[in-house]
Symmetry: C2
Subunit: 559 residues, 2 copies
């Protein structure tokens, strides 16, 4: 029933994934003129109403309630969630599978699109939930956790729908014979899901990183168990509750989508991921755990996004200020807690040519540091860019980073009026040498970057190719006025298996990737086993099964 209502949007989305030009169906601006005069107020009230309460989901296997989320801005959320027995969730998902399978791609896409519509309508509430779990500042949480995540969800729906409807549902096969009538067979093709999907969410982008797997699995017929990060449950709890509401309205078993919340220290993901009925795992998080899943969840197809060494190659520029502004903002945005934030900035030892004259690595590092310092000089504006540190692990790592080399820019705490408990810190920039490979081939997740002196741009490309092939990366960028260097870097990026941004000096940043146009991750380096989103992200989620029989002879009586 929802399919017809949303068909035009789906068709447009399928067109968008084929063109990969700009398209964004969910407006990113939290403007009252778009979302309504009361949207901000209603959304905040809805969020407030959730605090210090039980979050009910009416799930099977629910005994007690659990949850201990604390906002990086200091607020204790005080929300508890149904602590469902994982085995009961698997059983319920298995029971829900046949009905969801038999619904077919159109009905499933319709339900998915209706879920998304309602998610979009609750973008303000979700923004507060994302902000108070991830530490993203409100506007970023609104955009990245709301409309941008919704765009990514729709992109996944479009790929899942397009690939799972690529085969016809029926065909007549008619093979001419040398003598007599042709052989004729009627054939039926049915999409069947792989099994149960498990989506393991992360702390920093609970919706953006979870939605593609969630919606791709749903549209291809798989019930999904959503296992949120214990520090970022609320955004996915809201998502799951909306999904269950729409499923029920559409007449489906609402256990097609359930939430698996764990008690502190319970660590249920491993058991779920290796459950024989779980056939798809989508994971965002640490390399260590991602590698564990790939090695152990052998009964499932495993899509991981892990960590890497995002690299910037600085060769030369004709817009030095633009470079510093753009790169400085990329290092600062959400305190570098993006899987796309640059870490290793490679600068040739004998300096780079710029429109402001030649700059040595030390001069470059100092200019970058002063740019960042200036960007973050006003505390209120700084917190808008930085947000808060998501968890104590990042705080500890940031402290440790100051001991790794010559500190070009020291991190400082930002005191913000009205947010006394917020953990807001500016980035650290450390100068290293190419030989400090042990240091910069580890991912230092958080507001930690290295300006690394190399022998030459060629040397930098060699380091880039080698370290990213070995350790992975989600982004890479290059600054050069030479088309030869750009083209060499493109080749190195192809070989390292990472997407490349070139000469970003204006209003697009290396850590932004736009749904329907930019791919996020590639699968071609160790940082991720898949791209969000492309056909390869969805084709492993379903099978096409066929039945055939002789076609009735024409003119024959039908019993």
């Amino acid at each position: 029933m929802f399919f017809e209502a949303h068909r035009a949007r789906l068709d447009r989305a399928v067109q968008a994934i084929d063109a990969r030009e700009y398209w964004s169906p969910y407006p990113e601006s939290p403007s009252p003129s778009i979302y309504g005069e009361d949207a901000a107020k209603t959304g905040e009230a809805a969020f407030q109403a959730l605090l210090n309460n039980r979050f009910e989901l009416d799930q099977p296997g629910t005994g007690d309630y659990t949850g201990q989320e604390t906002s990086p801005y200091g607020l204790e959320l005080g929300i508890t969630y149904p602590h469902s027995d994982p085995a009961a969730l698997v059983e319920a998902a298995s029971a829900a599978l046949p009905g969801w399978r038999d619904a077919g791609p159109q009905a499933r896409a319709g339900v998915a699109l209706e879920i998304l519509k309602r998610i979009n309508e609750r973008s303000f509430e979700l923004a507060h939930a994302v902000s108070h779990t991830s530490g993203q500042h409100f506007v970023m949480a609104f955009q990245a956790g709301g409309p941008h995540a919704q765009d990514r969800a729709l992109e996944a729906i479009a790929y899942a729908y397009a690939e799972s409807t690529r085969q016809p549902t029926r065909a007549t096969w008619e093979k001419p014979q040398r003598k007599g009538d042709p052989l004729r067979m009627d054939k039926k093709f049915t999409v069947v899901p792989r099994g149960i999907g498990l989506v393991i969410g992360c702390n920093t982008f609970p919706t953006w990183n979870s939605y593609p797997g969630l919606f791709a699995s749903l549209v291809t017929g798989n019930p999904v168990i959503v296992k949120p990060h214990p520090r970022a449950i609320l955004p996915l709890a809201i998502t799951v509750s909306i999904a269950r509401e729409v499923l029920a309205e559409a007449g489906f078993d609402k256990n097609v989508v359930t939430l698996a919340v764990e008690a502190p220290g319970e660590l249920i993901a491993g058991d779920l991921a290796t459950n024989p009925a779980v056939k798809i795992v989508d994971f965002t998080g640490s390399t260590e755990y991602g590698d564990w899943l790939e090695a152990n969840a052998r009964q499932a197809v495993v899509y991981t996004e892990k960590a890497g060494l995002n690299t910037v190659i600085v060769d030369s520029t004709d817009d030095y200020k633009g470079l510093l502004r753009n790169l400085g903002f990329s290092l600062s945005l959400y305190s570098g807690q993006m899987c796309t934030t640059p870490q290793n900035i490679l600068v040739p030892r004998d300096g780079i040519d710029t429109d402001q004259g030649r700059k040595t690595p030390a001069e470059f590092a100092a200019d970058l540091a002063s740019g960042v310092d200036k960007l973050l000089s006003d505390p209120a504006r700084a917190v808008g860019t930085l947000g808060a540190l998501a968890n104590p692990g990042v705080v500890d790592r940031l402290a440790k980073a100051h001991e790794l080399g010559e500190v070009v820019l020291a991190s400082r705490a930002v005191e913000v009026d009205g947010l006394p408990k917020a953990t807001v810190r500016t980035p650290v920039i450390v100068a290293l040498d190419a030989k400090d490979e042990d240091t910069y081939t580890t991912e230092w997740f958080g507001p930690i970057s290295f300006v690394i002196s190399t022998d030459s741009t060629e040397h930098a490309l060699d380091i880039f190719r080698r370290t990213v092939s070995a350790h992975g990366a989600l982004t890479a960028s290059v600054y050069s006025t030479s088309e030869n260097v750009l083209s060499d870097t493109e080749l190195a990026a192809l070989e390292a298996g990472v997407h490349l941004s070139e000469n970003l000096t204006q209003g697009v940043f290396v850590n932004q990737s736009a749904a329907f146009s930019d791919f996020h991750g590639t699968g071609a380096n160790p940082a991720a086993s898949t791209a969000l989103t492309d056909p390869g992200f969805v084709t492993g989620r379903f099978y096409v099964l066929q039945s055939r029989r002789h076609a009735p002879v024409e003119g024959a009586e039908v019993g």
Copy 2:
């Protein structure tokens, strides 16, 4: 250069995979009116000229020559092949990769299509090569090893081309801004191969089972090392030599395709499959080795076709004679040495309703046996259907099968004039009971089938669902006059993850699968990890990498 020449055929093939109706570009009839008056004679002469000679491939790392193929019809082929060092082949493939990658999908598809064209022109020569390695009778070897394998190759090319050109190569992204000019980015998308492909061939269908992986990997940019079964080298040696000839003509490094022949007992497949540079493995063969590859070739994506329990559910029929004729032929064709040959025939204990009256399992088994016996009564015609047993393993298994239960039809040797050394055997049919699960849940590859008494059709469906889910199957079929039973069986087949043929009584057999229409394998049960061929068979073979830069401002001077 070859792309334009073959573009119309490629376009037609892409249309065919979307419609899945009948289409066959390579004529299956070895008729002089199609292949030319001299084709048969020329092909045989070409085959004869290969015997007792070195097969030269001008490959790297070639030291000595090796090869010990003996035809199941008695002929010692006496052909030796370059015994190349596997490490040298990997190195040569790695060196060939960049040029092949940079050629792009169109040039690669053009080369692949030209290779296929020349393979097709040598179908008679290949038919002799397939017949004298697999034991298939000449006409079957011509069809299955020639045009049908070529159709499957083209199908794989079409999927590989369609999926790897689904993303545009360039796009302009233009995001409107509230104030001022839009943000504009130029984006480039490049298909890069996963790495080196390894194709591990089998004894019985050296070309048909190897071509999809070979051509899918090639078109998506991966150099391929072809590792033939030691008993069936020649068909793939001819294939590789044609590929190298076309590659060289097109100006590519011919080491894009190489042949890895092993000396007796050398077992090089495991080392090749786990070589870090090998990123794709296509395998057809035993469950044991397929499982080993899946568990150990962790650096690669592994596509396997293994063994299973092909099952027939007999419930009722309105064409008893048609059923017996069709099923009897399926059991006999190529002595049951097809991965699609029925093994477990489930018949309710209290009999089936037919247009010839009610038949108990014993009566059904006797009628099936006498049908097979009659089909194979004339030795010359019998060998045309049966071919020869491919290897001593099948002969031994056939002997052992006579001890498994009540022998309804004993196998006998067929003596054929002019083929004194040929190992031609008729099928064995053994009666079992549902409780003999230990026996019939093992695959008995070869001319070995079981008529198994069950409590009811419902019981049969339960056995079918359970045993195929656990042990896999490549085919399933059902005979029933009841639409309810057919529909229950369709559901059971969806749940077991196997394709289903219904009421085959005419000129289509369960062990035939037509390229461009029937899928072979599903990936949804343990018999195969993938379907030949669908989008999921090709999307794992490449990545799409992106670069982007600010678009030049319109009207600005260009340096």
